[in-house]
C-alpha cells in the first residue's frame, strides 16, 4: 500500500528536524560530496601530471574512474554523470594527445569516454536503487518499532484516562509533534489527553470544528486536507471497522505531513482505536454483568420476601377471618389453635422483617458496632430464652468451659447470629434430635459451634450457603429468605472473626464461628476476682 515515490533522503520521523524537505534540490544538500568528487578529479590530474609517464595513459584513464564511481555511489545518476563528464574532459585535456586540447587524435579513446559515461550511469542507478531500498527498509522498521512500542504500552492498560495519556505521549514522542486525543463525552468531543503544548498551539474554534468533522465523517481533516484546511492541526479519526471512537489531533512541526508520516499516524491511531475499543467493550461487559447481578439479586429478594411474607400472612388472615366470620362454629380448643397459628405467623413475619433490616444495614455499610464487654454464656442464655418457642421440639445441649474470657462485641448482633444459626439447625434437622452448642477458647479467639443432626449439605455448598439468597436445593419445601447465613457472615466479619460450615462425620451440619479475644484488655475470670472482692 505504501507509495514511496516522494520519499526523500532525510525525511523520516526518526530525524524529525530534517523532515518534509522535499523541495531542497540535490546540489544544495550534497554539496560536500560534489566538492569532494571534484577534489578527487583534481588530485588524480595532479598525480597524473607527476607520474603520468611512468603510469601510462591507460592507467590514468582507470584512475579517473575513481571519482566517477565515488560520485555515482554517493550522489545518484545526474550528479555522477556530471562528475563523469568532468573526469572525461580532464582526462582528454591533460593526458590524451594532443595534450591541453579537447580534440582527440586516436578515435579509440572515444570508447574509453563512452565506458566512463556508462559506468557513471549504471553505478549511479544501482546506488540510487539501493539507497531507495534501504530507506524503505528503514522506514518500515521505524514504523514497526513505533507500532510495537505503542501496542506494548497499551496492552496492559485498563483505565481509559491512562490509555489516552499513553497514546498521546507515545504518538507525540514518535513523531515529535504536539498531539491530542479527543474522545466523545455525552454529545460533544472532549480532549481526553494532550501533550503539553498542544492546547496553546492549536485550540480554536476552527480546530474544534475540524475535529468534530473528522469524528462525524470518519475522514481526515484540518491542515493539508480539503476539510478545514485553515485549522492548525491535522485530525485523524480513531476508528475501527464498525465505529469511530474518537479523533487524534496532531500539530505538524513544519508545514505538512508526508504521505509516509500520515501513513504512520494512521497505523498508530488504528492501534489506539483497538485499545480503546477493548477498554470500552470490557467496561460494557462489566456494566452488563453488574446489571444482571443486581437484577438477579433484586428478583431473588422479591421472590423470597413475597414468599416469606405471604406464607405467614396467609395463615394469619385465614385464622383471623375464621374467628371473625364464624366464631360460633369453633369450640375453645379450636379457637386456641387458630390463635396460636396467628401468633406463630406474626412471629415469623417479625423475624423476616428483622433479617431484612439487618441485611439492609449490612449492605449499606452503615453497620456500627455497639461493642461492650460480653459474656458469651450470657449471650447464649438470652438467645435460648428468646427462641424457646421454636427450640422446644429439639434437645439443646450447651457446653461452655468455666472461666471463659469476656469478648468485646455487639451483643445484639451476636445474638442475631446465634438466633439465625439455631433457626437453621431447627429447620434442617428432625424434631427430637439434638442440637449441640459449644464454645471453646483458643489463645486469641473464642470458637463457637452449632451442630445439628440433619442431613448436612453437599460439600460444594459448604461455602455457598453463606451467599446472599442462596438456598439449598435438596430438602423439600423448607422456606427461608436465604438471608440468614449471609447476615451471620456479615456480622462475624464485621467483628474480625470468621465463619464456616462443614458436614459432621456422623451426619449433620457443623457451623463454626470465631470471635477475637482482646487479651490485652480482658480481665480473666480467675485472675482478679478474689482481689477485687475484698
Amino acid at each position: 500500500m505504501t507509495d514511496y515515490w516522494a520519499y526523500d533522503v532525510e525525511a523520516d520521523f526518526e530525524t524529525s528536524e530534517e523532515k518534509t524537505d522535499h523541495k531542497i534540490p540535490w546540489w544544495e544538500k550534497k554539496t560536500w560530496s560534489v566538492v569532494f568528487s571534484l577534489i578527487m578529479v583534481v588530485l588524480v590530474t595532479m598525480l597524473g601530471k607527476r607520474y603520468g609517464d611512468y603510469l601510462g595513459v591507460t592507467n590514468m584513464g582507470m584512475l579517473y574512474l575513481l571519482p566517477v564511481v565515488f560520485a555515482s555511489a554517493r550522489l545518484g545518476v545526474t550528479p555522477s554523470a556530471i562528475i563523469a563528464l568532468v573526469s572525461v574532459v580532464s582526462f582528454d585535456i591533460f593526458f590524451v594527445p594532443p595534450v591541453f586540447r579537447l580534440t582527440v587524435n586516436d578515435v579509440r579513446y572515444l570508447i574509453t569516454f563512452a565506458v566512463f559515461m556508462v559506468v557513471a550511469f549504471t553505478t549511479g542507478n544501482i546506488a540510487d536503487h539501493l539507497r531507495f531500498r534501504m530507506r524503505e527498509a528503514l522506514h518500515r522498521e521505524t514504523r514497526t518499532r513505533a507500532l510495537y512500542h505503542l501496542a506494548r504500552g497499551l496492552s496492559a492498560v485498563t483505565d481509559m484516562d491512562l490509555l489516552a495519556r499513553k497514546v498521546v505521549d507515545h504518538v507525540s514522542q514518535t513523531t515529535a509533534t504536539e498531539v491530542a486525543l479527543y474522545l466523545p463525552e455525552t454529545d460533544s468531543l472532549k480532549i481526553a489527553a494532550a501533550s503539553r503544548a498542544f492546547s496553546d498551539l492549536v485550540l480554536g474554534p476552527t480546530d474544534l470544528a475540524a475535529a468534530e468533522w473528522a469524528f462525524k465523517n470518519s475522514q481526515h481533516s484540518g491542515v493539508g486536507t480539503d476539510a478545514f484546511p485553515g485549522a492548525k492541526g491535522f485530525y485523524l479519526p480513531v476508528q475501527t471497522e464498525a465505529r469511530t471512537l474518537g479523533v487524534l489531533g496532531v500539530k505538524p512541526t513544519r508545514q505538512l505531513f508526508s504521505p509516509e508520516q500520515t501513513d504512520l499516524l494512521e497505523a498508530l491511531t488504528g492501534l489506539a482505536a483497538l485499545a480503546i475499543l477493548r477498554l470500552q467493550l470490557a467496561a460494557e461487559a462489566q456494566a452488563i454483568k453488574a446489571l444482571e447481578e443486581s437484577e438477579r439479586l433484586r428478583s431473588a429478594l422479591f421472590n423470597s420476601i413475597s414468599h416469606e411474607m405471604k406464607t405467614p400472612l396467609a395463615s394469619i388472615l385465614g385464622a383471623v377471618s375464621s374467628l371473625v366470620d364464624d366464631e360460633d362454629l369453633y369450640n375453645e380448643e379450636q379457637k386456641s389453635t387458630l390463635l396460636t397459628s396467628i401468633k406463630q405467623g406474626a412471629l415469623r413475619m417479625n423475624r423476616v422483617v428483622g433479617n431484612l433490616l439487618d441485611m439492609a444495614r449490612l449492605e449499606s455499610g452503615y453497620i456500627r458496632l455497639h461493642t461492650d464487654w460480653c459474656d458469651i454464656q450470657d449471650i447464649i442464655g438470652v438467645t435460648l430464652r428468646e427462641n424457646r418457642d421454636i427450640l422446644h421440639e429439639h434437645r439443646i445441649k450447651v457446653s461452655i468451659p468455666d472461666n471463659i474470657s469476656l469478648i468485646k462485641v455487639d451483643y445484639a448482633l451476636i445474638e442475631q447470629v446465634l438466633t439465625n444459626l439455631l433457626h437453621n439447625a431447627v429447620k434442617y434437622s428432625p424434631g427430637g434430635s439434638e442440637i449441640e452448642l459449644s464454645v471453646q477458647e483458643a489463645t486469641s479467639e473464642l470458637n463457637v459451634s452449632i451442630a445439628d443432626q440433619g442431613p448436612g449439605v453437599d460439600a460444594s455448598d459448604e461455602e455457598r450457603i453463606f451467599d446472599k439468597f442462596y438456598r439449598l436445593q435438596s430438602p423439600g419445601n423448607i422456606s427461608g429468605t436465604g438471608l440468614g447465613l449471609s447476615i451471620c457472615r456479615g456480622i462475624i466479619e464485621a467483628h474480625r472473626g470468621s465463619i464456616w460450615a462443614k458436614n459432621r462425620p456422623g451426619g449433620g451440619l457443623l457451623v463454626n464461628f470465631t470471635l477475637p479475644v482482646d487479651n490485652d484488655m480482658a480481665i480473666g475470670f480467675g485472675d482478679h476476682y478474689q482481689g477485687v472482692d475484698n
Binding site: 455497639h370 461492650d372 459474656d375 454464656q377 450470657d378 449471650i379 442464655g381 430464652r385 445484639a412
Partner: protein
Amino acid sequence: MTMGAKILVIDDEVEIRRLLKVGLTAHGYDFIEAANGKDGIVQAATLRPDIVVLDMGLPDLEGLSVVSEIREWSQVPIIILSVRGQEQDKVKALDLGADDYLTKPFSMSELMARIRVALRHQGNIKDEPVIQIGELFADLSRRQVKMTGNEVHLTPIEYDLLKILLTNAGKVVTHGYLLTSIWGGDSQEYSQYLRIYISHLRKKIELDPNQPRIILTEPGVGYRLAVV
C-alpha cells in the same frame, strides 16, 4: 390488685392505642390516651395517671424529652415502648428516669407484667426483708440467701448485686446503675467485673447457668430479676 389504676398511653399509632385500650380495659384498668407528646404531657399533668406507657417514636417530641419533662414534676412510673436496635435510646430514657421498657413487638401479657411490677414498686413495698422467687429465698435482714433450701455463700459484691436486683425484682436495672451503686463509677474495667460477677452469681443461684431463669439479661441495657 390495684384494679382501676389509671394508665395513660402516649402513642401516635391508632392501631396500637386501640389494641392497648382493649387489653388494658379487659384487665380492669382505666385507659387514657394521647396521640402525641404534647398532648401526653398535658394529660399526664391534668389527669394524674398511675402509669404512663410511652412510645419512643413519637412524631412531634422525642420520647426522651417527654420523659424528662414529666420527670420534672412527677414520679409516675413510665414504661417505654421501643423497637429493636434502639438500645442506646432505651438506656438514655432509663437514665432520665423511665422505669422500664418493652421492645416491640410485645405480647399483652408482657405489658401486664411490667405494669404490675411498676405499680408494686410505686407502692413502696420494697422494704419487705424476706423475698421468695421460685427456688431462691433471700432474707435481707439476715444477709441470708438459700437455693432449694441450701444456704448459698456469696462474696460481699455478689450479695450487693443480688440485693439490688431483688429490691428491684421484675424491673430492669441498668449496667450504669449497678456499676455506680457498687463501684461508684462505670469504667471499662468495672464493666468487665460486672459481667464476671453476674456470671459467678448465676453459677451459685441458677439451676442451669447456661439458661438462666432468675437473673435475666436485657441485652445492651442491664439485668432483670425474674418474677416467677
